[in-house]
């Protein structure tokens, strides 16, 4: 007999609740696809995750910072420019990782590799496919923010041991963007809008959300724009943790805001994944 798998099927009736495990058990199956997939590319990915913080902290922190520090300014909180921007850059890394992991890989999953459709033909629901992929994005966020922390410490940019808590905040900052981006990317037919979003949304956020200079430097009427962006909340909280100035109330406010934005994206992704995979 060539294959047991091809014998006449058994007569056992299908139990409606046959699917074992809860919602996240199915999502883990999808996560495992991404882990298998990642085994192919992890080396290059880790190298760029290390190289990124080295370049940023080297050029902006040590290089530009040596100039800034000569005209030391109280508005930086009385710390070196390196110590000022390092935690902000960590939060920004969360955002950038979210953009990197939530656009092309999602579009590829419906357009090029079509692995979403392969998964949708199995017991997995569209929401399991989304959650599983999101778990992988969270893993990548944790990796990149963790590596960033190590590089900060290596550069001597940490002022408080609480900077360790900036890693989950960086992850949360990314999580405020990832589900919404995934919800949108899965509906795309082409990638043309991705570079537009990067150029006119992500980069302005990166430049003006308080990473490189205090938000007080931009005109007062423009500041509310920064306050609604998730990145500003991430930057503020990471910096407060790193400089040891964090307050419980402030932290709760920032975390609460980031969680709320993430939850909204999460809900949107459930709807758009179901629409796309169960047309």
């Amino acid at each position: 007999m060539t294959a047991q798998a091809t014998r006449p099927p058994r007569q056992a009736p299908v139990a409606p609740g046959a699917a074992p495990g809860g919602r996240w058990a199915f999502a883990v199956r999808e996560l495992r696809f991404w882990l298998t997939d990642y085994r192919r590319t992890w080396r290059g990915s880790v190298i760029s995750s290390v190289l990124g913080p080295l370049l940023y902290l080297g050029a902006m922190g040590a290089g530009l910072g040596s100039l800034v520090d000569r005209h030391s300014d109280a508005r930086l909180g009385g710390v070196s420019y390196l110590a000022f921007i390092a935690p902000g850059l960590l939060a920004a890394t969360g955002m950038q990782t979210a953009f990197g992991e939530s656009m092309y890989p999602v579009l590829g999953s419906v357009k090029w590799v079509k692995n979403y459709f392969a998964a949708a033909a199995t017991p997995l629901r569209p929401s399991d496919v989304f959650r599983g992929h999101l778990l992988f994005v969270i893993l990548r966020l944790a990796m990149n923010c963790g590596i960033f922390l190590v590089v900060i410490v290596g550069f001597g940019g940490a002022r408080s041991p609480l900077i360790v808590a900036a890693v989950p905040v960086g992850v949360l900052t990314g999580l405020a963007f990832a589900p919404a981006l995934m919800a949108w990317s899965v509906t795309r037919a082409r990638d043309t809008s991705f570079s537009v979003l990067m150029r006119f949304f992500m980069i302005p956020l990166f430049l003006f959300s308080g990473t490189f200079f205090p938000i007080t430097q931009i005109p007062a009427w423009l500041r509310p724009v920064a306050y609604v962006t998730p990145l500003w909340h991430g930057v503020e909280l990471c910096r407060a943790l790193s400089l040891g100035t964090a307050t419980l109330g402030g932290a709760a406010l920032h975390v609460g805001y980031l969680l709320a934005v993430a939850a909204a994206g999460f809900a949107a992704a459930h709807v758009s994944y179901t629409r796309r995979l169960h047309e």
Binding site: D37, F117, A118
Partner: protein
């Protein structure tokens, strides 16, 4: 006639609309365990939409659909765990190896690694890909990829195998290997549902089939039954000088005055650009009768009716799209 207990799929008035477009327009069919059932139709006939509804990845707009006794909307995951799907696009991860593709897919069904490993060995043997197990999928030929998708679809030992255009785009050798494997599955009692627009494929593989056109079922039966019902036993193909076709057809019409009286009576005549088709019970007699009318075709061919004749009669010769 099949007993109720053996009915695996039942559809009544099954309809699928996308906005204002009706892809599947109130079709009825049922499928018994062990059957090989085909959906035939031109592109855009609604075959793939029907398959996606059966695959529980597309909720019906209206009508009834029961698969393995369950409602696909309420019990999608449970039904899908019992289906094997060979989609029109291969949906393989071409950068992973052959066996990694099976591993990833087997895990979607929650199968333990040891079970996946065991079945992978058997299935790759079955589709003749054992020696490529550790190779990346990308450089494999279209036929090999198709066989890999078939192996993948069997990893959960499905009750029903859904094949959406299983051999489209394959060369003749690759098609015959796929047919051979599907035929073996059928012999082992696996229930097959396939869509195709290849008549030879339908004739080879299907016990029963429906012809779909513009979202509706135009006819249903076994290949033989359909030929018996919608065509004649034989077809006489005549070629004349181009331009003489209409005139020849007019003369040939004389052969159909009293159909049934003579074996050579023309039951239907179809004029194409390059030839005239005469549908008849006995092609040789019809040819004799035509010569008797003074017609001298450049070439003549008597052949048996095929499913293609049925198909073209039912769905027309115009492009549907």
């Amino acid at each position: 006639m099949v007993s109720e207990a053996e009915v695996l799929i039942r559809a009544r008035g099954l309809t699928k609309r996308f906005g204002g477009f009706t892809a599947v327009d109130g079709i009825d069919f049922s499928l018994a365990r062990g059957e090989a059932f085909g959906f035939l139709g031109p592109n855009g006939a609604g075959k793939s939409s029907t398959m996606r509804m059966i695959g529980c990845v597309s909720p019906p707009t209206s009508g009834e659909l029961t698969i393995l006794g369950l409602d696909p909307v309420a019990h999608g995951p449970a039904i899908r765990s019992r289906l094997g799907v060979v989609p029109q696009d291969d949906t393989l991860d071409i950068e992973l190896t052959v066996q990694e593709n099976l591993l990833v897919y087997g895990r979607y069904f929650g199968l333990p690694r040891a079970v996946i490993r065991e079945r992978t060995a058997m299935l790759l043997d079955f589709v003749q890909l054992t020696d490529r197990a550790g190779d990346q999928v990308e450089p494999l030929s279209g036929g090999m990829k198709r066989r890999l998708v078939i192996a993948r679809s069997l990893i959960n030992e499905p009750d029903i195998l859904l094949l959406d255009e299983p051999t489209t785009g394959l060369d003749p050798q690759a098609r015959h290997i796929v047919w051979d494997r599907l035929f073996r599955l059928k012999q082992r009692g696996v229930t097959l549902i396939l869509t195709t627009h290849y008549m030879d494929e339908a004739e080879q593989l299907c016990d029963r089939l429906v012809v779909m056109d513009t979202g509706k079922i135009a006819a249903e039966g076994s290949p033989r039954e359909l030929i018996g019902r919608y065509s004649t036993p034989e077809v006489l193909e005549l070629r004349f000088d181009p331009g003489d076709h209409e005139q020849a057809a007019e003369k040939l019409a004389g052969l159909s005055r009293d159909p049934g009286e003579r074996q050579g009576a023309a039951q239907r005549i179809e004029v194409l650009a390059d030839r005239v088709l005469v549908y008849t019970t006995d092609g040789d007699e019809t040819l004799e009768a035509a010569r008797g009318l003074g017609l001298e075709p450049v070439t003549s061919l008597v052949r048996r009716s095929t499913l293609e004749d049925v198909f073209l009669r039912l769905t027309g010769r115009q492009l549907g799209e």
